[in-house]
Every structure is written in structure tokens, then in C-alpha cells.
Amino acid sequence: MACVTDLVPLLVVAMLALPVGGAIVCTISVRWTDRVSIATAVLTAAAAITVALVVAVDAPHVSRGSWYLVDGAAAVFLAVVALVGLASALLSPAYLRHAGRSWFRASRARAWYYAALQLFWAALLAVPVAENLAIAWLLVEATTATSALLVGFSGKPSALEAGWKYVVLTTLGLAVALLGIVVLYIALGAAPSGLARLDWEQIARGATGVGGDAVIVSFVLICVGLAAKIGWAPVHNWLPDAHSEAPPPVSALLSAALLPSVLLVAWRLRDALEPTLGAGAVRAVLLAFGLCSLAVAVPFLWRPLAWKRLLAYSSLEHMGVLALGVAVGGSLATAGVLLHVAGHAVAKALGFYAAIPLLRQDPEAAERPASGVALKSRPTAIAMGVSLTVLGGLPPGPLFASELMILLALIDAGLLPVAVVAALLLALGFLGLAHALLEALLGTPRSRRARPMHSARAVGLATAAASVLLLAMAAVAFELPDTALVREAAGGLR
């Protein structure tokens, strides 16, 4: 074990360098892009998951380098990003086989797709381990350029619209966050100068003796800016469009990896500034985003929406739940948040992967609600069923346990009204999703023509793997609050 622990610094570098190298090779060697991408993805995921496992097993000890920090929370987020990235890379050939028109020239489209995917993934893997607020911001901003190209990949007018909204709104949001970072840097004037002033621990230490106003303003500005990227309402407008127009493997990365990774930055900021600002102020901001996101998302879950748009609004709902968990803190809520991030990622990614055969079978499902899928493709129907029942929070799914933990933590923190409102909204959301699922699986199909598809078989395998992971999470769910990993993550920055 000690031998593997010593390798962590090397593995951290490898997990970031491999996808960058893979991206370069993909643009040079157009002929072997599928194989290069898959080989790179397997190696990258192996390195990242090894780092995550070493830290998880070694908890409460954290792994720290001069520029990275892998603690309990980072380990969970890293594993999630690695798994979703691997699955997206493995399923991308199935999407690209029938992708049709593209923004790029046909002969280069596949190469650019993989290059952008690998660079996007590399930036995503780096965000959870960034030890510094400014570096985390730079990495989050770097995800925008690469992922925007992927959102607009099809080159369709709707994809260009979604991509444009995504670039403009998230860049504007991140500009506000950067303003907050500069304000915070100035406010922490007495702390060491240079980049180190914005290390998470330095922020926590330096902010303690600083006057409140500038720190509060910086916290609000950074939170509002990050909210635009996390997709918290009311600054979520890009989210449904980008998720629905991106290629399904990219939608999975956006929803299951990008949103939670940025949320971790907000979580670390809360940990760093709560001692200075007090729990009340910090909680108020995050609770407002959480409840607002739930309240905005739930009515859309009742509407007859295209499958991927439905999943996008479900992402908005789940980011709201996570905001509530991060706001309240403590072992129970932290366990809930970590479990929710992992369970949501697996179920949501599976839902988006199911869209590959779904849209091949029924192209109209890109714009209209899916209908009668069970009659046409059983593997696709099972994937959609597993995804939506878990996302709805049905027991024994892990999201049932995680939502219960977060609600109990809210009650325990004396926030009973918030817990009641959240529980009601979650119940309504569940009913909306259940209705949508029944219509999608058992409704009248638009055409009865069914065709066997390679992508449906691939999604069938993904469903089996996802089911095993989800059951494993459900099995250990209620043991989590007492684990060293969760206690370390709940302890904040030390």
C-alpha cells in the first residue's frame, strides 16, 4: 500500500497528461482515433481511480503536493469524473458511427471530437484536485472552450444556439466569479503575497482576521459566478439547451462530471470562508440557490419534454439538492452529498447514453417526448428505466438514501421549514419523472419499426455495470456517515 501511496504524485500528473497527449495524437493520427481515444481513456481512468482509491483507503490522511490536494471529497469527485469520462469515451464510437453532419469537415470531425473530449476531460479531472482557488477558476474556465465546441458539434442551428448561450452565459458567470476572486485577493492583503494567498488553506487562515464586507461581497460574487456554471437557478438558462443539444456522451460528462466538479469549488469556498462569515450567511446563499433550483426544475419535470431535456431539468433539480447538502455541512449531509454526487453521476450518465440508441431508433425523440421505447428496444428501455427510477429517488436507489440524509441533516440543523419544502418538491419531482418514464416506455410508439443496433447492446452493457455500481452504493449508503472518509471530508480544510 505504501508503495502505491508513493506513486500518487506520479499518477496525478499521469491522469492529466495522458488525455492531453491523447488529444494531440488524435488530431495527428486521424485513422486510429477510436483506438487512441479508448486506450487513453482506459489508462487515464486507471490512474485517476487508483489515486482516488488510495486516498479513500488511507483516509483521514490526504495526499498533498505543491499544486494539488486529494482529500476525501476530491477522491470521490475524481473517481466520478474518471468513471464518467471513461464510459463516455467507450460509448463515443457508437454515437459517432451515425452522427451525421458536423461543425467540422467530415474527414476531421472524429479527430476534433476526440481531441476536444480528451481536453475537456483533462480539465475536469484537474478541477477537484486543484489546491488553489485561482487555479480552480482557470481550469473551470478552460472547460468552457473545449466543451462548447462539443455542444455545437453537430453544427445544427439548435446546437449552435445552445453552444453560443453556453459560451456567453458561463463566461459571463465566470467573469463575475473572477471579479470576486480579485476582491478576495485584495481583502486578504495581510496574507502571503502571490498565488499562495489563494490556496484553500491560506484563504481559510487569512480571512479570519479580515473585515467582513469585502469578504462577504467576494463570497457572493464567486458563488453567483460559479452558480452560472453549476447550473443553479436562476442562472441556469444554458443548461437545458446545452445538455439536450450536445452529443449524448458529452451531455453525460456535462451533467455528471462538470456540474459536480464546479460545485466542489463552491463547497471548498464555503469551507474556507465559513469561519469568517459565520454559518448563517454562508448557508443563506447556498440554501437560496438550492431551493430556487428545486422550485424551478420541478414544474419542468411535469412537462412532456424530449428525453435529454427532461434529464437536463433533472440535473437542475439534483444540483439544488447538492446545494442544500453543502449548505448544511456535517457528517450526515456530507455523506449525503458524496453519495448523491456518485449516484446521480452513474444514473444520469446512463440516461444520456440511452439516448444514443433512442435517437437512432426514433430521431423525433430529439424534440418530442420519447414514447413506446419498451416495444422497440428492450436494452434502451431498461437503461432509461434504471436511470429515471434512480434519479427519481425511488428506494432502494442510492439517491433515496442521499436525499434522506440531506433532509435529516437539514432538520438536525434546525432548518425544518427548508427540509419540508425540499421534501415536497422532491416528491413532486419524483411523480413527474415517474409519469414521464411510464409514457416513454409504455406509451404508443411513433413507429413500430424496430431495428437491431450495436449501440443498444453497448448501452445494455453500460446498464449492467451501472446497476452493479448503484446497488453497491445503496448497500453501503447508511454506513457512510461513520466512515473516516466522510468524517475527513466533513471536517473541512485543515
Binding site: 444556439e161 461581497v217 437545458p240
Partner: protein, 205 residues
């Protein structure tokens, strides 16, 4: 940064709110970036690294980014001017009021130059206003640059400035995002025959 210089920077930002032609807006943002870059050089400390970083930022913001904007302008010729969402005077008044309110309500950060502090917040507000109110995609991209210039003004005014890594990292990200945004601008123009964002309203629930 001196008060008059900050006033000119803010006036150039307000100019982007008012002008009709994209070429004029590009000239205004280029001038604003050039002035900021020159200001950064004048503030650079005794270390040569300060000059190098300020020089790189100057070349990139006042040279590379405007060149990208001009390149896109030539590749996305509009047959006629895109109709404005509101009259120029109304835009100017609304933006000025919002910018004043934002800069007045922000707490003092205790910097040497209070004008730079207030001006920075005002420029960020103006940039956001441009993105929200101007319809052509190129104007929205320029709005992002106005907001970024506001942040750079505040960063320059911080005692000792911001760390080089942050300055150069932000610059790299800025060029990357502007390149992608201008790529979208070109594609949108090719698909819709115009860069008017009014046509980007197909995705609704």
C-alpha cells in the same frame, strides 16, 4: 491608475453600449485594452518580469484579440445593420444608471485609487449590460471583453498586482474563449445569414 484615465476607460465602455457599427465597437474595445495595457506597463515594478507580463498582456489584449475580432468582422458581413433592442439614448441612460448603482453599492476595498475601484465595478456592469442588451453576436463577445477589462483594471490596482500565473492564465483562457466564441459567430452567420441573436430563440420549453 489616475481618475481621468479611469474615466476614459469607462467612457469607452459606454461607447460600446451606444455605437451601431461593429467596426466602431472593435475600435473602442481595442482603444480601451491599449490604454489598460499602457497603464499596466506604467505600473510595472522594478522587476523585469513585471514588464514582460504587462507587455504580453498588452500585445494579446490590444493586438491579438482585436485582430481576431476584425478577422471575424470581415468573414461575417451583414447585409444591413442589425436592429437595436432599444434606442441608443435609452441604452446609454439605463447602462449609466446601473453602472453607477453597482459602483456605489460595492464596499470600499481600501485601494490607493478609489477611482480605479469604482471604475472596475462599473466596467464589469457595463460589460454585462452589453451582453444582455446588444443583439449581434460580435457585440456580445465584445461585452465579455469589456467586463474582463474591468476585472483587469481592479487586478492592476491591487497592491503588488495579481500573481503572474493568474494574469497569464486568465489571458490564455480569454484568448481561448474568444476564439471559440468567434468560431461560433462565424458558424451562426453561415447558418442564419446574420449574427442577430434574435434568431437564436428556437430552444424553448
Amino acid at each position: 491608475m489616475s481618475g481621468p484615465l479611469v474615466a476614459v476607460l469607462v467612457a469607452l465602455g459606454l461607447g460600446v453600449v451606444v455605437v451601431r457599427r461593429r467596426s466602431v465597437a472593435i475600435a473602442l474595445i481595442s482603444a480601451q485594452s491599449l490604454l489598460l495595457g499602457a497603464g499596466a506597463l506604467s505600473l510595472a515594478g522594478e522587476r523585469s518580469a513585471d514588464y514582460v507580463v504587462a507587455g504580453i498582456v498588452l500585445v494579446a489584449k490590444a493586438g491579438v484579440v482585436p485582430a481576431l475580432l476584425v478577422f471575424t468582422l470581415h468573414r461575417t458581413r451583414e447585409r444591413r445593420l442589425v436592429a437595436a433592442a432599444a434606442p441608443a439614448l435609452a441604452r446609454l441612460l439605463a447602462c449609466a444608471v446601473i453602472a453607477l448603482m453597482v459602483s456605489a453599492t460595492m464596499p470600499s476595498l481600501g485601494l490607493d485609487s478609489e477611482a480605479a475601484e469604482r471604475g472596475a465595478f462599473a466596467l464589469v456592469a457595463i460589460g454585462i449590460f452589453v451582453v444582455v442588451i446588444r443583439r449581434p453576436v460580435l457585440f456580445q463577445a465584445i461585452g465579455l471583453l469589456v467586463a474582463e477589462n474591468g476585472i483587469y483594471l481592479l487586478a492592476l490596482s491591487a497592491p503588488g498586482g495579481m500573481p503572474f500565473v493568474v494574469d497569464l492564465g486568465v489571458l490564455f483562457d480569454l484568448i481561448l474563449v474568444v476564439t471559440v466564441a468567434l468560431g461560433f459567430s462565424h458558424r451562426i452567420h453561415g447558418e442564419f445569414g446574420t449574427g442577430d441573436t434574435e434568431y437564436l430563440r428556437g430552444l424553448r420549453d
